[in-house]
């Protein structure tokens, strides 16, 4: 699976027998136990573990919810209320699943911004990064499908708006739309299809996550200094050092999650979704879930429907091009004084787009959304290429160890046993 030397030594006869037939334990061992981790990672690097935790939470709560849910236009709303009222701890399952989706996106956005700040997308991690963008796309599709399932007003009208967007695709748009609808309008077959797809996509996410971890295993992790592991002192073994840090950070994040489940369960949702779907009544404002708002603002910034659709999809696709748009040889923005400022402006613009996405598309809001959309793309198409060419980076530390302790200082204890780390020393 990788160029790493396998450090796992099976002890018992059974383990030896199994390992010589399928080296599964050795694979897990080299990915999550002996895997060399840069010793200067900060807490932004714990979000990978947090995301895996949330994928697990979503799948477990989702499978249980599916045991009680009825995917039909007449029964969906009431079956969700049946879960809330009559299923033992059904309210907990449903609120955990609904807020779990939001927390999943909080974590993935931190993960993505961390990536962009520290230049983790740059060579040799392009494939690792693109797999991440694929996971993000699958997450968006899954979340959209899931939000339609309670079959409230926002579910219905959200499904209507998004499937109408797909119809704007030239040539095949209408076919895709009627395939998703299962007819000629959003209705009962649509809920049934969306439920099926909502159950399918998480397993595809899980599959791509395996590839994502595999690619990570090959290149090793980036780090705040953005320089590769050069000696065994730069790295620590994943277990126990990264494991305990990841578990600690995950538990802290769960406090936030629990706060929303138990005390603000509907804060991140929309009140209109407690009104049963009604094709005859359009809500005053059709608004997607908060995590789609920046893209919704981009969609509505353009008067042309097709243009808006193209821009919205481009806004996600352009992420995948970052490794080639960024011309800087330095990864970490810590050593890029100019890019660092543009980065924070970009973050601010994303938040502003999110806020504008929740506003009605009229007057000044549209103009502001247009400016922000232009800046969003300019960040990738202008700032990233030019900054790398004209900026003078500050001096990089000599090694990861030096970035932790300062130059010339010694630190007690070797980071990692000799021979435990292999490939990341020589790559990237």
């Amino acid at each position: 699976m990788s160029a790493h030397g396998n450090t796992y030594v099976p002890k018992s006869r059974l383990a030896k027998w199994f390992e010589s037939r399928l080296p599964l334990v050795g694979l897990v061992h080299s990915s999550f136990v002996s895997f060399p981790v840069p010793r200067n990672l900060n807490y932004f690097w714990t979000f990978g573990a947090i995301l895996i935790a949330f994928l697990g939470i979503q799948i477990i709560t989702g499978v249980w919810l599916a045991m009680h849910y009825q995917p039909s236009a007449t029964e969906a709303f009431d079956s969700v209320e049946h879960i809330m009222r009559d299923v033992n701890y059904g309210w907990l399952l449903r609120y955990a699943h609904a807020n779990g989706a939001s927390m999943f996106f909080v974590a993935v956005y931190v993960h993505i911004f961390r990536n962009l700040y520290y230049g983790s997308y740059k060579a040799p991690r392009e494939v690792l990064y693109i797999l991440g963008v694929v996971i993000y796309l699958l997450m968006m599709a899954t979340a959209f499908l899931g939000y339609t399932l309670p079959w409230g007003q926002m579910s219905f009208w959200g499904a209507t708006v998004i499937t109408n967007i797909l119809a704007a695709i030239p040539v095949v748009g209408d076919t895709i739309q009627s395939l998703l609808w299962g007819g000629y309008s959003v209705g009962s077959p649509t809920v049934n299809r969306f439920f099926s797809l909502h159950f399918l996509l998480p397993w595809m996410i899980a599959g791509v996550v395996v590839l994502h971890v595999w690619a990570l295993h090959v290149t090793g992790q980036n780090n705040p200094a953005g320089i590769p592991i050069k000696s065994s002192k730069d790295a620590v073994p994943f277990t126990p050092y990264a494991t305990v840090k990841d578990v600690f950070a995950t538990v802290v994040f769960m406090i936030l999650f629990a706060w929303f489940i138990f005390y603000q369960p509907n804060y991140l949702g929309h009140a209109d979704n407690y009104i049963p779907a009604n094709p005859a009544v359009t809500p005053a404002h059709i608004v997607p879930e908060w995590y789609f708002l920046p893209f919704y603002a981009i969609l509505r910034a353009v008067p042309s429907k097709l243009g808006g659709v193209i821009l919205m999809f481009s806004a996600v696709i352009i992420l995948a091009l970052a490794p080639w748009l960024d011309t800087s040889r330095v990864r970490s923005a810590n050593y890029r004084p100019i890019y660092r400022q543009f980065f924070w402006v970009f973050v601010a613009v994303c938040f502003l787009l999110g806020w504008l996405g929740a506003k009605p598309p009229e007057g000044g809001y549209v103009i502001a959304a247009q400016i922000c959309t232009a800046y969003y793309f300019a960040h990738f198409l202008i700032v990233m290429p030019l900054c790398g060419l004209f900026e003078t980076p500050t001096k990089l530390p000599g090694s990861i160890l030096e970035s932790v302790t300062g130059p010339g200082k010694q630190v007690s204890g070797a980071g990692i046993p000799a021979g435990a780390a292999a490939a990341p020393h020589t790559k990237g």
Binding site: N42, Y43, F44, D78, E81, M84, R85, W91, L92, P224, A225, V236, Y241, V244, K245, F248, V251, M254, I255, A258, W259, I261, F262, Y263, Q264, N266, Y267, A271, D272, Y274, I275, A284, S332, N334, P337, I338, Q341, F342, V345, A348, V349, L352, W355, K359, E362, G363, G364, Y365, I367, A368, I371, C372, S403, V404, T405, G406, V411, S412, G413, A414
Partner: protein, 303 residues
């Protein structure tokens, strides 16, 4: 570097400066109702609990007034005796259910028939179907009450919506505040406002013109009396509205008290666990000279 700071600042200023034209909250004028005043609810906040007496009064108001037009199709009689609710006894609920006639069937001969209600039955609806509900009510069925307290809200705007999510400043009772405000919000229209037939002016209803006539007035519902023969709470529209809104909050979220109680235990557990894990992590990392703290150690280094 200075130059880019200026560019960034200018851009931010341009973006922020652009919006005020549309940001000014001219809410009352633009067709939305005015902001409902915030009420005190016993069940708000982390330690919030429903007031059983209030839920019983609220149920009384619903039963005697609202249920003439509004259904509550997801709530069963048995729910009234369940933990965390109005706290009626099983016998009271059985007796109450029996006062309703419920349509059942078909029986062995294929006939639908009426029988006295049982605790397992849902609340009976005032109208047999949506069309029957819409016909005498201006063409639109009065909304079902089951989850209405969660289906109504009003916009709080920036920055208030941020504080609404936080501990201590948290606010998740917009729905009931709106319902209370709506019920006390009937008033004479301002001069020059046309109020078409079949609509009524309400200060808090979005657009101000509501099909429902003023549904309740002072003294309409007779509340239980205390030892001195006085009602325990004032028999006013304001009090009725609070009570029925509280009852609707319970109906929309019957496990709210269980949720909040469990949440407290879960969060305390997680805080203790994360504290323990922090020290485990510190101990483990101490072997190799400790961990780097601070998000960007490189930026703060002096050497």
């Amino acid at each position: 570097m200075r130059a880019t700071s200026l560019i960034a600042a200018a851009l931010a200023a341009a973006l922020i400066g652009l919006s005020p034209a549309t940001l000014s909250p001219a809410r009352a004028e633009d067709g939305h109702g005015s902001q409902p005043p915030r009420q005190k609810w016993s069940y708000a906040g982390v330690f919030g609990r429903f007031d059983q007496a209030q839920l019983q009064r609220g149920f009384q108001v619903y039963k005697e007034v609202c249920s003439a037009c509004h259904s509550m199709r997801l709530v069963s009689f048995r729910n009234l005796a369940e933990e965390g609710g109005p706290g009626y006894s099983a016998a009271q609920v059985k007796a109450l259910a029996a006062t309703y006639q419920v349509k059942d069937g078909p029986n062995d001969s294929g006939e639908m028939f009426e029988r006295p209600g049982r605790p397992a039955d849902r609340f009976t609806a005032p109208f047999p179907n949506d069309q029957a509900a819409a016909a005498p009510n201006g063409g639109k069925a009065p909304p079902d009450f089951s989850v209405l307290a969660k289906a109504r809200t009003f916009e709080r705007g920036f920055p208030w919506f941020v504080f609404d999510a936080l501990p201590f400043t948290g606010y998740s009772e917009q729905g009931v505040d709106y319902i209370h405000a709506l019920l006390v919000g009937y008033e004479d229209p301002p001069k020059g406002t046309e109020v078409p037939d079949g609509t009524h002016y309400n200060q808090y209803f979005p657009g101000h013109l509501i099909a429902m006539p003023k549904p309740i007035s002072d003294g309409q519902v007779t509340y239980p009396k205390n030892d001195k023969g006085e009602p325990v709470v004032p028999e006013t529209v304001d009090q009725y509205s609070k009570d029925v809104a509280a009852f609707m909050a319970w109906a929309a979220e019957p496990h709210m008290m269980a949720r909040k109680a469990l949440g407290l235990r879960v969060i305390l557990f997680l805080i203790v666990l994360s504290g323990l894990l922090y020290y485990v992590k510190k101990k483990i990392w101490a072997d190799i000279g400790g961990e780097v703290h601070g998000l960007q150690p490189e930026l703060h280094k002096t050497s």
